[in-house]
Symmetry: C2
Subunit: 306 residues, 2 copies
């Protein structure tokens, strides 16, 4: 059983509540506070050896990433981030200097996005460092953009460039909070997700939740320089890395064709935007090459459980 099947099983046990606007299975949950006012909630656990490497990453970088991952989830709903609580498990005998540097990273990233740290938990355990951030956002009178709103004929777009984040960007990325909020304020976005599992896997989440299919243009997927560098080492193509590598933390979204034109002619959008495909009535994802040929592509899953 993989992570996603387990989450589906968890969701099947979830109790209903009229104030839960969005429950398990999106980038954030959303609780109705007052009329159209929503409280967005997301939680992310970062574990040594899985999400960072103490041999390569400084404590400050780890602190920054822990906050940035949660910001990215709120960005994917087109909302603004406000508060966070942080739990940290330090290995026994951690030096206080290390703990303070990690915390300074947390504060630096939180301050950069005007997020207040309102509480937390400090524990110690054997062997590994674990950081959990739970973050709160607000919808600011806007809609909350989910994974389930993609419509047939929507254009699929993405911010930035993809692939090879393992070379460093997975820890130093800047979450697209401003961009997500701008998209929600100025354009009619039907669905959105941040790229944490990889373009194909995360587009897959949108398709599954929305009950639609997609075609990606092989030549239009924005490939990062890191994907090129990594491809020279791994023997896979740079495109393969752009399609399947995780932790890009770019925003993947779908919108009606006329809205996409408006967006592409919007001059002051802060980052590169690419139109990479469209939504159709089929199932799954097909890739269209420059000759117009279609080929099915599948997500390269990751099994957490035996």
């Amino acid at each position: 059983m993989d992570e996603f099947s387990f989450i589906k099983w968890i969701k099947s046990n979830q109790k209903k509540d009229k104030n839960i606007a969005i429950g398990i299975g999106d980038d954030c949950a959303s609780i109705r506070i007052n009329g159209d006012k929503m409280l967005l909630v997301t939680t992310d656990m970062l574990v040594e050896g899985t999400h960072f490497d103490l041999k390569k990453n400084t404590p400050g970088e780890i602190g920054k990433k822990s906050i940035a991952c949660s910001i990215s989830d709120i960005a994917a709903m087109g909302c603004s981030a406000k508060y966070a609580v942080v739990s940290i498990c330090f290995p026994h005998e951690t030096k206080i200097k290390f703990a303070k540097e990690l915390y300074r990273g947390i504060n630096e990233m939180a301050n950069a996005f005007n997020i207040k740290i309102i509480g937390g938990d400090i524990v110690s355990g054997k062997k590994i460092l674990v950081v959990n951030v739970t973050m709160y956002g607000k919808n600011e009178g806007l809609k909350t953009i989910t994974r389930s709103g993609a419509k047939v004929d929507d254009v699929i777009m993405i911010t930035g460039e993809l692939g090879g984040s393992i070379l460093g960007r997975h820890i130093t990325f800047k979450p697209r909070l401003k961009e997500g909020l701008l998209l929600n304020k100025k354009f009619n976005i039907n669905s959105m997700i941040d790229i944490s599992d990889g373009l194909v896997a995360d587009l897959g989440h949108i398709l599954e939740k929305s009950g639609v299919g997609a075609v990606l243009y092989e030549d239009e997927v924005p490939i990062s320089a890191d994907a090129e560098t990594l491809a020279r080492k791994t023997g896979s193509s740079a495109l393969h890395h752009a399609l399947h590598d995780g932790e890009d933390y770019e925003l993947l979204f779908t919108l009606p064709c006329n809205e996409s034109k408006k967006l592409l002619s919007y001059r002051s959008f802060p980052v590169r935007l690419s139109k990479i495909g469209y939504i159709n009535e089929s199932e799954g994802i097909k890739m269209q090459n420059s000759d117009g040929k279609l080929k099915k592509i599948k997500s390269l899953g990751y099994k957490h459980f035996k």
Copy 2:
């Protein structure tokens, strides 16, 4: 540096915000939502080897404890618990049966207190199991009872019996949510905390936050049968265990003398209540024995950091 000094250092870096009613350093943080409506937030990380032992505890018990700890923090504010998000790090190759049993424990405890699980994060890592719960509560039009409201001449009271929780109660305890809310609804409670670090340590938190001192009556501290059993093994006294053992998850609170009389004559309070001392103008905690003699007692601290 210990955990508490580190938390003070963190707090000194905290940014102010008019909507943060209670920030770092209490059982819960509190965010102003609408007038007097508060959202309570607490987060607790449970780590294998520190908070549970896979050789002794079942996955279901671990799941239950993870939810119960957060409920206890909301109980300590006299508020009601509503929603939770749960992050779990499973060691690589965890069996799905184990994961489901853990999750069933989470659901069972959440359902027993009518708390909805609205989201979470599932990750995997090497070696150890970690569960983080962030829980939301509401003040239901009542005040939020903090650690900082203890007043000179307040009576100090406690629910249940203390000590020896390591023999099992630390994992199977029933959080005092109903009791905390009842205390807040019917009585004028000045300060409250749940016993996680131990009676002396947690009373110390109230005293420090409130700028007062306390006297405890040696003969009035309610000693659990577990404390007696443990004392026979450790050679320490049962009283020592009742004073210093952590994870009792009972409610420790202070209130004016007349309120305490009202409470003690309230017939349908669901658990044992003990009047164990009073607040005074001095500093720290003194213990008064049956001869009326006073002796200073100190918290037995636990250092997380080098």
